[in-house]
Amino acid sequence: MTTTALDTPVFLRPTTLAEALAAKAAHPDAAPITGGTDIMVELNFDVRRPAVLLDLSEVAELRTWERDGDRVRVGAAVTYTRIVHELADELPGLALAARTVGSPQIRNRGTVGGNLGAASPAGDCHPPLLATGADVEVAGVRGTRLVPVAEFFTGVKRTALAADELVTAVLVPRKRGPQQFAKIGTRNAMVIAVCSFALALDTSARTVGTGIGSAGPTPLRAPQAQELAAAELPWESRDDIDVRLATRFGELVAAAARPIDDVRGTAAYRRLALAVLARRCLRWAWQEYRCA
């Protein structure tokens, strides 16, 4: 396993987390693979030849989720299909986003850990994780640490992970109020988001969380929109939402985005669409709160 031809990757297959972390420490350039929905495309098209492939799909510790106080700890290798079927009540925003990923085949394989590790600005899980204030659990032989998801993304496809670390889980606050997710694409299945938006209301703390996808170098929050909604939503009376408030909220979300023109859409379209998605999500979530 120590020597290999230049173009022939080594395939490592740990069965415990300890073995996986030791393997990552020994091979910092190893490419982790679980669902394979990103990295296999790169291998099939020969755009990437990692020296070491680190298969995490046999590591049982990564495939479980459990309640941890007021949060749910979702193992990095839990698939989108399982999130949709098993966590929709507790993590509705993440489940809604998981529901929009790819196709049944892709949701059966793809994982939150993979989405985080790939750190695409368009990753569907990222906006709901931002909106709910999730923490990413990363581990290495030196220890385990929690990284707030807003600090996890450091650039386009770049993360706060050190070379000897793996994403082991994501800790997501359990539902504290209505959550929504919306995504724009050319069809309902198999699309990379042109832009996406997630919203999470905390009806006890009376705060509003946001997450913007595919409209910046990293997934983003819209702090001014959050502050406006928290301050001006009629939490006590549960009155219908003022149309000017919903519109202003949408405008502030659009203003927080940092989109570019690319093959999927223009920056101007993304801002326009985000304003609409944010307005709609706020109205949907507020309607759910009013009817609760």
Partner: protein, 154 residues
């Protein structure tokens, strides 16, 4: 590297597998199972759909080494009554044009009917959303799924 697995209830061994190779490539090129088709190689088209253990997956997105010790069922292995019924329904409904997407659609339909004996039209569209037919014969494909479901319930 060597990969040992169960394919369509038979123990199989593939040698000289390149560690970055897809399960699809191993099935087709090393094990002679060419029913699963190689089209997009990026999980977009579903023509390589198979069961890995009991889960519907795109075999182009599974590394061959990840199948070590696991069970694989390809379209060739769907010879139980339900599999035959799906294939017959595709023939009878005229759901096969060039035929390239058909094996993947047969496996995806089998997986759908396994978990839902009476799918609605939106359920069928959702379940087959990851399988593309570039002859665009979708109406007949929907007919075939409805026919297979009806027969299976009978």
């Amino acid at each position: 590297m060597r990969v040992t697995l169960t394919v369509n209830d038979e123990a199989r061994v593939a040698d000289d597998v390149w560690p970055g190779e897809s399960l699809l490539s191993m099935l087709r090129e090393r094990l002679g199972l060419t029913g699963s088709k190689n089209a997009c190689e990026q999980g977009e088209c579903g023509s390589c759909s198979i069961y890995l253990d009991d889960t519907l997956v795109c075999s182009c997105l599974v590394a061959a080494g990840q199948a070590e010790g696991h069970r694989v069922r390809t379209v060739e292995g769907l010879t139980d009554g339900d599999g035959d019924a799906v294939k017959a329904a595709f023939v009878e409904a005229g759901a096969v044009q060039c035929g390239f997407c058909t094996p993947g659609l047969v496996v995806s339909t089998h997986a759908l009917l396994d978990r839902d004996a009476d799918p609605t039209d939106p359920d069928i569209r959702e379940a087959l959303a990851g399988n593309l037919c570039r002859c665009t014969g979708y109406e007949k494909i929907l007919d075939a799924v409805r026919l297979a479901a009806e027969r299976r319930r009978a």
